[in-house]
């Protein structure tokens, strides 16, 4: 039988090339048309420390990083002990016999990574040895990796050819070792090339590129895991005339600078993680109050406080909705896949410009580092929205009326004051009750401009439905597919537009007897929000710092459905 899908994990010490291996494999496999997804965790220390990276290769779109491993590559004993239990029945372990010997052999075979690498004349070819062995095990053709090596190392430098030859030799050596071991996982089905061009990108990059597509031209950010990569990417790419990118001295400086940039007419952005968002509450409130467009990306990590900087969680939602005091309701877009990271970023800017206010893009650690093939965005088809700009003469009442009004750009006529205190039509401070009523309703009325009907739904007749959000979409959709296949009568809803929710979707959800929300937090944050909006929702929560496993989630959904059928809703 042909295999359609395999999951491999590289585990060892930081610096041993775990990430390179998984990303290399993903690159190679995707280049011939497989679908791929990587998953990476970093240790908290800078050098060394237990690291692992994973790649999943499949003939169909990859929804989750995979519950169990087909192949584990263990660089050292610690890694072997930590990960061996996740190898599936019939899976194989490749261990570095130069470093250790596992107590019981079982489904494993050893190679001396370093020694074999040396034989190629390139001591740094360990990863290629491993990839070669791996390719044999999963039945991937030699050609794929050879081509990949050739492309990757053809950099127009002297000595390219030598390096290519050494690496191909390494691949071959690895393959031979695996062959000798006698293990095999069967033949990998040939790729079913996805329709249209693909790109290979991770979530942070997708957010950054999406921002560029939307026209970002002002970025100020402060380093923080897992959002730092967005700052670094911008520093390199948001260049050229009229662009501004800068490392701030703190998140408080960042949010206020971005506010100033938005006021000056820019498409302004910052990216941070939970601790930074906690510091931005006051500035976000100001942007809401003064009606200044800007986009803040929160790449969620484990919380609260300094929390779990290198782990994934979906627990900043409540904070993001009301990051500051007073009546505010932050527009929130939470992408669920790497592809959605791109479009969420475009939409976040569109929303900010459309309603003239702050927008929060809620990403997650698990998306940020995940490298995946996605359809290449068609830039010409993107709808990029720009600010409604005031073009009249001086004496304009910028805050007149109960809804959106054109925004003047400093330097051109139409001067006014952007004011964090309650203000009159010119932006001057006032305390009149009528004004506070008008301005409050004006600010909330603008949210109506963000309403849309972008959501997924399936099997909408079912009375019990699943509605994941953010990065839990992947595992949830895999679990849903599995339950569907098993004949469960379940519906599916999903949107990345968390606030405001698509109106029609909300109406439909209200009619359901139960909406099950898988989410990675303790409190069941999203289901609470849905309940406050009149939906009978419950959460399936997990707070381990890791994404859901599909089988586990499917089981918990089944249990919850059974309970519901027995008891009726108890919210």
């Amino acid at each position: 039988m042909q295999k359609n899908d395999f999951v491999v994990r590289f585990a060892g010490e930081g610096g041993q090339g775990m990430v390179t291996s998984s990303e290399g494999l993903a690159q190679a496999a995707s280049s011939v048309g497989y679908n791929v997804q990587t998953f990476v965790t970093f240790p908290s220390q800078i050098m060394g420390g237990p690291t692992w990276a994973q790649a999943r290769v499949s003939t169909s779109p990859v929804l989750s990083s995979g519950d169990s491993l087909d192949v584990l590559v263990a660089f050292n004993e610690e890694a072997y002990m930590a990960h061996k239990d996740e190898v599936s029945d019939g899976g194989v372990v490749i261990f570095n016999s130069g470093a250790f010997q596992p107590e019981s052999g079982g489904n494993s075979f050893g190679m001396e990574f370093a020694k074999l690498a040396k034989q190629t004349g390139n001591a740094r070819a360990e990863n290629m040895i491993v990839l070669g062995a791996l390719a044999y095990l999963v039945g991937m053709s030699q050609q794929i990796l050879d081509d990949f090596v050739r492309e990757r190392f053809t950099r127009g430098r002297e000595g390219d050819e030598e390096i290519i030859i050494a690496n191909i030799k390494a691949l071959t050596l690895g393959r031979q070792e695996a062959e000798k071991s006698g293990f095999s996982l069967g033949e990998l089905a040939p790729p079913e090339k996805p329709e249209g061009d693909q790109i290979l990108i991770n979530g942070n990059e997708a957010v950054a590129v999406g921002a560029i597509a939307a026209g970002v031209n002002f970025y100020v950010g402060y380093p923080i895991s897992p959002a730092t990569a967005i700052l670094l990417w911008m520093e390199r790419n948001l260049t050229g005339e009229g662009k501004f990118v800068y490392q701030a001295s703190s998140e408080i400086e960042a949010i206020n600078a971005v506010f100033g940039g938005g006021y000056a007419g820019r498409k302004a952005m910052s990216a941070t993680a939970g601790p930074g968002l906690s510091l931005m509450g006051e500035g976000l409130g100001l942007a809401w109050m003064a009606e200044v467009p800007l986009v803040i990306v929160d790449v969620q990590r484990g919380g609260p406080s300094t929390g779990l900087p290198t782990k994934t969680e979906q627990s900043d939602l409540l904070m993001a909705l009301t990051p500051g005091h007073g009546d505010i309701s932050m527009p929130i877009i939470a992408p669920g896949t790497v592809e959605e990271c791109f479009y969420a970023s475009v939409m976040a800017f569109n929303w900010a410009e459309r309603y003239q206010g702050p927008v929060i893009l809620l990403s997650e650690h698990m998306l940020s580092e995940r490298r995946q093939n996605i359809p290449k965005p068609e830039i010409s088809k993107l709808k990029v929205e720009n600010r409604k700009v005031y073009t009249g003469s001086n004496g304009y009442n910028r805050y007149d009326g109960w809804e959106l009004s054109p925004m003047p750009i400093p330097g051109t006529p139409g001067s006014y004051i952007a004011n964090g205190s309650e203000h009159d039509v010119m932006g001057d401070t006032t305390h009149l009750a009528e004004r506070h009523i008008q301005m409050t309703e004006r600010r909330f009325s603008k949210l109506k401009l963000l309403e849309n009907e972008s959501y997924e739904s399936e099997n909408t007749d079912a009375s019990i439905v699943i509605m994941p959000w953010g990065g839990s979409k992947g595992p949830a959709s895999a679990a849903y597919a599995q339950l569907q296949a098993d004949g469960a009568d379940l519906g599916w809803y999903y949107t990345m537009f968390l606030n405001p929710l698509p109106v029609k979707m909300l109406e439909e959800l209200k009619k359901k007897s139960l909406v099950i929300v898988p989410e990675l937090n303790y409190m069941g944050q999203m289901s609470g929000i849905l309940r406050s909006q009149g939906v009978k929702a419950v959460s399936i929560t997990q707070y381990t710092g890791l994404p859901f496993k599909v089988a586990d989630l499917a089981k918990r959904i089944t249990e919850r459905v059974a309970q519901e059928k027995k008891e009726g809703v108890t919210v």
Binding site: V220, T239, F244, L286, K376, G414, S415, G420, D428
Partner: protein, 288 residues
């Protein structure tokens, strides 16, 4: 109060030093308007929260753009405005509490960057708007509403701080010398880089220091304010430190470094070195 708006209801107390600062700023804006031939809407006044911050609403005549944001954040907001639209003139107006207490963290980065804006600080040694608490520049042992047994911390020397942080233009002044102050503010706005005009602007209600500043020979009170002598070389940092160390309130330009590139110069340089990346080519770089 600006005639434009009957709803706005804040007024400075009679005699407040900020009135003088207001007239000086109005004069400076007009002077710069003539010198640069730019329209008034090319100016953005970014205000802190305090009696002083209300400046942004109280300026009379042709109206510049303005931001009245949150307490202590005028500098980062000003950075955003200036770097977002470099042809604008950006003027920060803030009080000693706003700028030197809750907002103090923002001075060092802008000094290091030499952001090309001008900050006019109205120092009254007290929190005026919240009714008389101590501020960083309140003298030690002073009794205020929040220090009923005397202030237990040493007063900050803001001029020394600015120099230590590398502010590239520093002037010190009093609110009563409206004409000189106006010229100084215009001069600071003309400076390419981060300029601070630190003004003693007494609070008649909670900390009336007019007499101390001017002195009162009859009562044997020597004036705190003194004119920086003509021969002072403001381009010399050593001499600038000397002026500040003499204490009291020096009047005039203490330091002026015209050699340092401004943040905009730096950014231009980088933008010239690098090239604009088009979205299509960026996406292409991720092609499989």
């Amino acid at each position: 109060m600006s005639a434009k708006n009957p709803e706005y209801d804040f007024k400075w107390c009679p005699g407040c030093g900020d009135f003088g600062v207001r007239r000086a700023i109005e004069a400076a804006l007009k002077q710069r308007q003539t010198e640069t031939e730019q329209p008034m809407v090319n100016n953005v006044v970014v205000a802190g929260i305090g009696c002083s911050g209300n400046m942004v609403h109280l300026l009379e005549g042709e109206q510049p753009y303005g931001i009245h944001g949150i307490h202590g954040r005028s500098l980062p907001i000003a950075m955003g405005v200036k770097m977002g639209s470099p042809s604008l003139n950006v003027l920060v107006v803030a009080g000693d509490g706003d700028f030197l207490s809750i907002g103090q963290e923002h001075i060092a980065p802008q000094a290091a960057r030499n952001l090309d804006i001008t900050a006019v600080i109205m120092d009254n040694g007290v929190y005026g708007l919240t009714k008389g608490q101590s501020s960083p520049t309140t003298k030690v042992d002073t009794i205020t509403s929040s220090t009923p047994f005397g202030k237990s911390e040493q007063a900050l020397n803001p001029l020394m701080l600015y120099l230590a942080l590398g502010v590239s233009y520093l002037a010190s002044h009093v609110s009563t010398r409206v004409k000189d102050l106006g010229t100084t503010i215009a001069d600071a706005m003309n400076h390419k880089g981060f300029s601070v005009v630190h003004v003693q602007s007494p609070c008649t209600t909670y900390n009336n220091t007019f007499q101390e500043l001017k002195g009162n020979p009859k009562e044997g009170i020597a004036p705190l304010a003194w004119n920086i002598p003509e021969q002072h070389d403001s381009s010399d940092l050593e001499q600038a430190y000397e002026v500040v160390k003499q204490g009291g309130i020096p009047l005039g330009v203490i330091y002026r470094n015209t050699e340092r590139p401004s943040l905009q110069d730096r950014v231009d340089e980088i933008n010239n070195k690098s090239f604009e990346r088009k979205i299509e080519s960026i996406i292409e770089s991720f092609a499989i």
